[in-house]
């Protein structure tokens, strides 16, 4: 499971990186248009706003899988195994909880976005598809952390390395 999940999250992160590259080009293009043709691109800011949502949500599971979040690493494993297991469980469930909460709240936000036709300011890009993206990726993130916890415990391993890099 681990290798398949890693491949999927990496592909998602690369996709996020490509969206980011597109945003870089778009901003550069806007600068050129503004300086040389006095014709700035209308709605660039709106596209960048929504593009960043995609970039970040696509890359979030990858960041978790590579231990990309900073944690305060004052000690190694707790020598008493049951306590160490409890600690790892607590960390993983906290993360599952946070992403589940965001996903759950996003469902309500989707309804609101539909009801009030929420959109960006300049070119009215609807918020709804991007909130859906947040909901799906957060749900996936929570599932990945749950799955990794299950797999590690089943194999008799705990992988604190996945919890974050030392500060």
């Amino acid at each position: 499971m681990g290798r398949f999940v890693d491949r999927v999250v990496m592909l998602m992160a690369v996709a996020g990186g490509l969206v980011l590259s597109a945003l870089v080009l778009l901003t550069f293009y806007d600068v050129i248009l503004r300086y040389f043709f006095s014709a700035p691109l209308r709605g660039r800011q709106d596209i960048v706003e929504m593009g960043m949502v995609l970039t970040l949500m696509l890359a979030a599971p990858y960041t978790w899988r590579i231990g990309g979040h900073i944690s305060v690493d004052l000690y190694g494993k707790i020598p008493f195994q049951p306590l160490e297991i409890l600690r790892v469980l607590l960390v993983k469930f906290a993360v599952v909880g946070i992403f589940s909460l965001i996903a759950w709240r996003a469902i309500e936000a989707i309804e609101d976005a539909s009801l009030f036709n929420e959109a960006t300011n300049m070119i009215f890009i609807p918020h709804k598809p991007f909130i859906v993206a947040i909901m799906l990726t957060c749900f996936l993130h929570a599932l990945i952390v749950l799955g990794e916890t299950y797999t590690e415990f089943r194999a008799g391993l705990i992988a604190p390395d996945n919890e974050g890099k030392p500060s």
Partner: protein
């Protein structure tokens, strides 16, 4: 529970979660959610979590982070950073301690391409440490120079430290970037002075390196000029009012990419690696900001920052003593907390204290905005000290990862540079104009 006691409960919970090694971003979210639930309601807490997440993800000014990080990663992947070091090496490597000086200059140049201290230490360390080993440099001294030089990454613009500070204080990113230029160069000078002093006292720790021919030096200088151009266009563009920081970052990233295309070290795999590193760093920083955005409203509800500021002001300490106290606390926290984490956690509490302390009058700082900018520079220098302070100094881990030098030796090697940082900090505190001159003359 009173708001203040709930606040202390939240802070203790946060420390417990951090000690359990829950990533900093998530620890702040959990503590913030618990606190808001107690002081307000569960639905308010969850609503805050989503609203702040959405607000952070769509905050367009924050885009400057991934764009500058991408620029630095492309420069690093394509070997541009190595050119910086090689150029400095060719010109000053043949002096006593010259390779260590070249390391500092390489880091200073790379810092102007990358906002990350870790990236600076890693990139320059990979090239500089083997060279210094080849010329029999003392391993402690070499490690100290790389770890300390790397810290310049978050002081010299573009700096992720300044971006986060700007977001937290609602200050201008461009002005903060410019505020870091002169202090960054002073710090670089302090490091070089430390190297000069150390090699004067004990020449054996930094023997002279090989001497390059004049034409070789010129060739390397020309290669290094490409990087200088990117720096001048992007950072100079902000100063001259040509670009916003986001635009400057995009222009810098595109230029770095175009220059990279002319180099054979730059491959598709390298580009994808740069993208992956960029998005991972970006997610990490964004989630810390989301964490801070959930934790800060809770802190505000507890009234702890205002109560603490009030109490300290009523103690009628001299503003300088108060500032020294705050900086001492920062330096202490920095020994075990990550720099960014420390900033987002402590800033909401400390900034009101600094604003009401009267330090602005003592130092002749005339506006609130200038005070915030000056304090930002101070804070970032303290973050840099945190990066090389035992037991948890990120740059020390980085140097360890690219060398076979023991942690104990690295920390011993860092000490003189740490003292140089302290000297720089005192200079910047004493002369606020060093930080405020460029922002004041910046064109809008």
């Amino acid at each position: 529970m009173t708001p203040v006691s709930t606040g202390f409960f939240g802070l203790v919970l946060l420390l417990v979660l951090l000690a359990l090694r829950l990533p900093v971003a998530f620890a702040m979210i959990v503590a913030g959610l618990a606190g808001i639930t107690i002081l307000n309601s569960w639905s308010a807490a969850v609503s805050t979590l989503f609203t702040e997440s959405w607000g952070t993800l769509t905050y367009v000014e924050l885009t400057v982070i991934p764009l500058f990080v991408l620029m630095g990663n492309i420069a690093s992947t394509s070997g541009m950073s190595r050119d910086l070091y090689n150029t400095a090496y060719a010109w000053i490597g043949h002096f006593r301690g010259g390779l260590a000086h070249a390391t500092i200059l390489g880091c200073t140049g790379f810092a102007a391409l990358s906002g990350s201290s870790v990236a600076s230490a890693l990139t320059i360390g990979r090239v500089a440490l083997p060279e210094m080993k080849r010329f029999d440099y003392d391993s402690k001294f070499a490690a100290g120079a790389v770890a300390a030089g790397g810290t310049l990454g978050i002081l010299i613009p573009p700096s992720t430290g300044f971006i986060i500070y700007a977001i937290l204080t609602e200050e201008s990113i461009g002005r903060l970037f410019l505020a870091g230029v002169i202090p960054g160069l002073i710090l670089s000078g302090c490091f070089m002075a430390a190297i000069w002093t150390l090699t004067m006292l004990n020449p054996a720790i930094g023997p002279a390196g090989e001497k390059f021919g004049f034409m070789d030096r010129i060739k390397l200088l020309i290669r290094g000029t490409a990087i200088l151009m990117i720096i001048i266009i992007s950072i100079g563009g902000i100063y001259g009012g040509a670009f916003t920081p986001v635009e400057a970052a995009a222009v810098g990233a595109v230029l770095a990419f175009l220059f990279s295309l002319t180099r054979k070290e730059f491959t598709l795999k390298g580009f994808i690696d740069a993208l992956l590193k960029t998005v991972a760093t970006t997610v990490m920083i964004y989630f810390i900001i989301i964490g801070a955005s959930v934790f800060s409203p809770f802190l505000a509800l507890t009234q702890i920052p205002s109560t603490l500021a009030h109490t300290l002001i009523e103690m009628a300490l001299h503003p300088v003593v108060l500032l020294a106290l705050v900086l001492a606390v920062f330096i202490f926290l920095g020994t075990f907390l990550d720099g960014f984490a420390m900033m987002v956690l402590v800033l909401p509490i400390v900034l009101p204290i600094i604003q009401q302390s009267g330090i602005a009058e003592v130092l002749g700082i005339t506006s609130e905005s200038d005070l915030i900018i000056w304090f930002g520079v101070i804070m970032v220098i303290v973050l840099e000290m945190a990066l090389i302070s035992p037991p948890v100094g990120m740059n020390v881990f980085v140097v360890k990862s690219v060398s076979d030098i023991s942690m104990k030796e690295i920390y011993r090697g860092i000490m003189p540079f740490w003292v140089a940082m302290l000297v720089c900090l005192i200079v910047i505190v004493t002369f606020p104009q060093l930080s405020l001159y460029l922002p004041a003359t910046m064109k809008n």
